[in-house]
Amino acid sequence: MSELRDLYQEVILDHGKSPRNFGKLESKTADAHGHNPLCGDTITIYLELDKDVIKDISFEGRGCAISLASASLMTGLLKGKNMDDAQVLFAHFHKLVSDSNKTMSVNIPTDDLQKLDVLAGVRDYPMRVKCATLAWHTFNAALQNNTEEVTTE
């Protein structure tokens, strides 16, 4: 049960139930669509970029608690960041959920690290890592103006 609580922490359950930044962004300058064909989960990320700064970000879609919470936490974290910072966070997050050797990234504010850390429990559930990373990969596609659908497979 303790392991499960690592995965389903209160923060995750809360964000899963009432995701933040959920809905279409009218002022969007870019968007991308993501899909996990194995479970049918979908996500759309909307970005409003002001030069290289993420002025606003939101998402729409349906999925499990892990994927909704991940998208919710991600959008909260990325708002106001510049593109370079976003890439650093993405790289850190990817390692956090998929690499068993816990690595500490430099140049990331402690506050942000803590926010991402709540999803670290996913690492112990290899089948669920894709649920957590779909939002980030889709965000990355939006950032690069990639119009092709992002897929986990």
Binding site: L13, L38, C39, G63, C64, A65
Partner: protein, 414 residues
């Protein structure tokens, strides 16, 4: 009589579970409650042993060597074909084609019979409850030939809308390709009526028997399907082998699906002539040891008796339905009495994958997701469900464990 039979089922049942090493060993980190037999069944020791022993003392390629070992292997492989033929009531053993699975069986029919006989003027009827394996091959055929695909609706219980079937079935219909039992819901289709009506309009019928054949006896003489397909691994046999049954005159009219060794009569560098069915459709070295394993699986379930398995599974399905209803925490799909031991359900506000992970933590293996039946899911307006499916080795304790696992889900997602 019914009580007498269920007493016999109870008496015999104790032995069944212990026949399956994975269910009684410490192979998994927790005590395994396996409720995913509709995806693939576990294997009895006797099947595993038969393949091991075949590799240890009888293995060689078939139909080729003149030496003793090759002859032994050929006899074992062709013996397996005979077992399958008798098990499903084919009129001759040559009506049994070995494939690598039901998916390949359907693709074979689509690529060969379909491409040969169907044009853009023709129609194929499928249903909304099909597995993707009985949808996508027809889409591919549509792209090749222009043949139109129409789907018969299902109702709010997941049962086939038979009126809609009669409405869609016309002289343009050349094939009805339909499942015997929905893999996502456990619902059976009214095959007799479908086959009779289709035949009255000269349409052929392909039956996807993957889920049907594991839950009840199939007799093709009575059923009169033109094609019947199933996979070995769902029938307690090994993975990598499946069956295509086809009426012999239809198989004989069909062009090869793949070319290669063992499916020819003569080959020159310019041309080749093809062997008769079933060999025409078995290019290359087939899954020989898997055929041996499948024959053993058929022997195993035949010794138990399909009618006992069916009774046992029906009692599991009834008990599970009632327990889930009493627990009153999930919504059940397709609550009907006469269906296979497959139950789909959802929490109102918990995604199936989260349910699956929490149950996994309790050692309970269920399937969560769309079950390769996305049109069925769309019909119910969901992206997926949790599915518990039962095999001959499950018991009431497994269902009690499922219910207590679901209470844990509720507790975490309160």
């Amino acid at each position: 009589m019914a009580n007498e039979i269920s007493d016999q089922v109870n008496l015999r049942f104790n032995n069944w579970k212990s026949d399956f090493p994975l269910l009684s060993s410490n192979a998994t980190s927790k005590k395994l409650i396996y409720l995913d037999s509709a995806a693939s069944a576990q294997k009895p020791q006797i099947v595993i042993d038969s393949m091991k022993s075949f590799y240890e003392s009888e293995y060689a390629n078939i139909h080729r060597g003149v030496y003793e070992l090759s002859e032994k292997a050929t006899i074992a492989y062709e013996g397996a074909r005979k077992s399958v033929s008798e098990f499903i009531g084919a009129s001759k053993v040559e009506e049994i084609v070995f494939t690598k699975g039901a998916t390949e069986s359907i693709n074979l029919v689509a690529s060969s019979w379909g491409a040969q006989n169907l044009t853009s003027d023709d129609e194929i009827l499928i249903t909304t409850m099909e597995h993707h394996a009985n949808i996508v091959p027809w889409h591919l055929l549509h792209k090749r030939t222009g043949v139109k695909i129409k789907a018969v609706n299902i109702d709010e219980n997941g049962e086939l809308d038979i009126d809609h079937f009669h409405q869609l079935l016309t002289k343009k219909t050349k094939l009805v390709s339909i499942t015997q039992t929905s893999n996502a819901l456990g619902v059976n289709t009214p095959l007799s009526e479908i086959i009779d009506t289709a035949h009255s309009l000269n349409a052929l019928v392909l039956v996807d028997g993957c889920q049907g054949i594991v839950h009840k006896r199939v007799d093709l003489q009575q059923l009169d399907a033109d094609f019947y397909v199933f996979s070995g691994h769902k029938l307690y046999g090994p993975s990598g082998i499946g069956v295509l049954y086809g009426k012999y005159d239809i198989l004989e009219s069909m062009q090869p699906y793949q070319g290669g060794g063992d499916m020819i009569v003569t080959v020159t560098t310019n041309d080749s002539t093809y062997a008769k069915p079933p060999y025409r459709f078995e290019a290359g070295t087939p899954p020989i040891a898997s055929a041996v394993g499948l024959a053993q699986a058929i022997k195993y379930i035949s010794n138990i008796g399909m009618e006992f398995i069916a009774l046992h599974e029906h009692s599991l399905m009834k008990y599970a339905s009632k327990s889930l209803q009493d627990a009153n925490i999930v919504k059940l799909f397709s609550q009907i009495d006469d269906k296979a031991a497959i139950i789909s359900f959802n929490f109102d506000d918990v995604h199936p994958h989260d349910v699956g992970t929490i149950l996994d933590n309790e050692g309970i293996a269920v399937r969560a997701g769309h079950h390769c039946a996305q049109p069925t899911m769309s019909h119910f307006g969901v992206s997926g469900t949790v599915r518990a499916s039962f095999g001959l080795y499950n018991d009431f304790n497994d269902i009690d464990a499922l219910i207590s696992g679901l209470h844990k889900v509720k507790e975490i997602f309160k």
